[in-house]
Subunit: 464 residues, 2 copies
């Protein structure tokens, strides 16, 4: 009887209890590199430098070009090799004036910003009645004629959460709202910013007018302003009218590029490990958490491997261009390098707060490597996640094509407080959490790069 | 021996131990009114209404006039008597365009707002070198010729604290900076906002060019932008130049006014109790914590007394005008009513967070009343403070002239995150803390008004 119960218990446990407690110890070199990285200063220096000396860097603009020049100089100064910019082109949209005010019944200004690819109002703005909806679903279900010639206002109820899943679930007003409003003949659309803060900093972000919908003015109110508009609509006894002025422009096709640098491995024939981030930012903030921090983390981790010696496999850093406006950099890299082998790819693009979970998709044959990674990260408070899934923005096309990948998932609870707002600035980065990121990425690179040899480092590292 | 030690202990205690534990019990009527107010809805309704239906209400502007009309209607609707507006005039300064950008070496925009009474730049702005100082003291001690023709930048290190004392200690860059910069021939001055947050919402506030100093452009950078400018100055190898565009205007003398309403007491010959706040706000936010909440708290407390019956003494509500720009309302009230007796005065003008300490200055003869007040507020978590000091902004002149006063001190830890910024909006108010305020003010009014009689309320309350 007792034996049967035990057998049942063992069979019912999702993972055999004994298997959870054993496994090879963490490689001492990996552990030492990981722990030393908790005092890292490289990452802070990179993100401080980029956000201070360049600041905002919208894709395709001179500011992004300055960021590339800064990046090349910085990566060269850190001692990386094979530094190059791979250029590509994209259509560029730039912000103009942007203002909103309630005309009646309660005159007052509201804080707004244009969404990417928004159409423009005339310079003097437009005045129209506001029709409010609590969600994209409510807007979609409303009679089509209800918004003709009017300003659509769509709210939502996005909560903060750890994994950022709310962005997918509640981002519809930005992604689908403008197209639907255009198709229904609305004069314009304003949405509650896709975010989780309560500051008067609106969240911009890209959207595309789909299915031939003509561009109309499309803006995001800061969350306090969106809530104010809801109260105004509720308290008004008659129509609420808004004056909206937004004058963005499409300035044509311009150049962007991916900045690439390498720490060459001992085995030049081996497939490289790609670690990425995106160099461009939205124009409202200085792109500290999105994604200066990511570039800082991956480069700092690679630099720490470099300082320790030479890995077996080449580590390739890619600071992608033009991510925010449509993943242009990732698609360009896929086009140029998608057919080449990659040992693994990973991207840091979810802020600067601590990593809480490690996912990987290295394949059944590399399960031991994935498990070793989980064990090496556990002392950083990182829980084991999936062994069959990992994602990333610019590396998405590579992963979709079957390239092995690692996902070091950051805590996103604060991320959508700052995302795409003027408030995405250096002061929001917690250096202790930034360093935990560097430690995790360093450990990951130490494991996946196949072992670091301290000799003969000086001869093999060529700079150009 | 034992008795001697006990005697010594008793003598050494700052207050006799027994005396701390005795004292008359709290009047059951006071306690009941206090506790019922913890479920108050009047205050929220008032502050939501004012901030939504009027919004920003800069002194002397049509928005402040709309606020007075709103206030008269609201106070009438609540059933108060003797409602009147006492008008006065003041010179009015209004904001224009405001922009700042680093021209070299790291081109990027900065978020700025003009300080009250700032001079203007030409419409196209000015471009000048920035000279930075870490404090007003450092600026004052620098050679006078160091800033001639340049843009002075003054920082400071104001911390958040509970009683707001940092505002006095660290506010010098705003109060004295512009005058000193003008006298030294600076082209303009920009300061680190006098605040404690880290959001890109600059803090405006009044300043006066003193001693014949000519107005120059004077602005406040948001705190992240001020820190960015410090980093830029530190990382630049040569001069840092800024383009500054601010076009505020003085529009001449305009009208403001104090809105006054009363709950008449049974003894019409008795001196009234004045409870105040200020109705005007800065123009950037909707004036929720500064000072819509204050107006809501004092009126809600008076309304709760009204609902319970009729007090012995008249309760006079004063929603002062034009506080932010120079205490004009308080000075006008003092001029018109300073010679009349007031039983006590109190003002709520430090946000909407919980009251943590009660001060009073009722005089030696009314010590029992002051002690009763302390006892009645203790269950709200309010500690006893001074019996010889109390303050307030608009009531300052009355207190200085010797009028008895009560100070219900709010926790100011968050206050300077929001003070004078675009972020001063309704969503920042915590209703539980707002209700604790109403409970404290209700208890205070119940005690000082000399006892409430439930009859014959309907006959004695006249509206006009």
């Amino acid at each position: 009887m007792f034996r049967s119960v035990l057998a049942l218990l063992c069979a019912a446990a999702p993972v055999p209890l004994l298997a959870q407690s054993v496994g090879p110890p963490v490689d001492p070199q990996v552990a030492a590199l990981r722990d030393a990285a908790l005092a890292d200063d490289y990452a802070w220096d990179i993100v401080e430098g980029l956000t201070t000396e360049v600041g905002p860097r919208l894709a395709g603009t001179p500011a992004e070009a300055r960021a590339r020049a800064w990046a090349v100089a910085k990566l060269f100064g850190l001692g990386f090799s094979n530094i190059r910019v791979e250029p590509f082109e994209l259509p560029v949209w730039v912000r103009g004036e942007e203002k909103a005010e309630i005309v009646a019944p309660f005159p007052q200004p509201l804080v707004i910003t244009a969404l990417g690819n928004s159409g423009a109002t005339p310079p003097q703005g437009i005045v129209a009645e506001v029709v409010g909806f609590d969600s994209m679903e409510e807007f979609a279900a409303s009679p089509a004629e209800a918004v003709r010639g009017k300003i659509v206002f769509v709210s939502h109820a996005m909560p903060a959460n750890q994994d950022g899943s709310g962005y997918g679930l509640f981002g519809a007003p930005r992604r689908q709202g403008p197209t639907l409003a255009s198709k229904r003949g609305a004069a314009a659309i304003v949405i509650r910013s896709i975010g989780t803060d309560h500051h008067r900093n609106p969240h911009t972000g890209v959207q595309e007018f789909a299915d031939g919908a003509a561009p109309i003015p499309a803006g995001a109110l800061s969350i306090p302003d969106a809530e104010q508009l809801q109260r105004i609509l509720k308290r008004a006894r008659g129509p609420v009218t808004m004056r909206l002025t937004m004058t963005p422009r499409n300035i044509g096709v311009r150049r962007s590029g991916n900045v690439i640098a390498e720490l060459p491995g001992r085995d030049r024939a081996a497939a490289p490990i790609l670690v990425g981030c995106h160099l461009d930012s939205w124009d409202l903030g200085t792109g500290a958490v999105d994604d200066g921090a990511g570039c800082a983390i991956v480069a700092a981790a690679a630099k720490r491997i470099m300082d320790a010696g030479q890995p077996l496999r080449t580590i390739r850093i890619v600071w992608f261009g033009a991510e925010e406006v449509g993943l242009f950099g990732g698609l360009d890299y896929q086009k140029k390098h998608g057919a080449e082998p990659h040992y693994a790819v990973a991207e840091s693009d979810f802020g600067a707060d601590r990593i809480w979970k490690v996912d990987s998709k290295l394949g059944e044959a590399r399960k031991a490597e994935a498990k070793a990674l989980q064990r090496a990260l556990a002392p950083l408070g990182i829980v084991p996640g999936s062994l069959t899934e990992a994602d990333g923005s610019d590396i998405g096309p590579l992963i979709a094509a079957g390239v092995p990948a690692v996902g070091l998932n950051q805590d996103g609870t604060r991320y959508f407080d700052l995302h795409h707002t003027p408030d995405d600035t250096l002061d929001k980065i917690d250096i202790a959490q930034l360093r935990q990121n560097v430690a995790a990425w360093t450990a990951m690179l130490a494991i996946l790069s196949g072992g670091i040899e301290p000799e003969p480092k000086p001869l093999q590292r060529k700079r150009r």
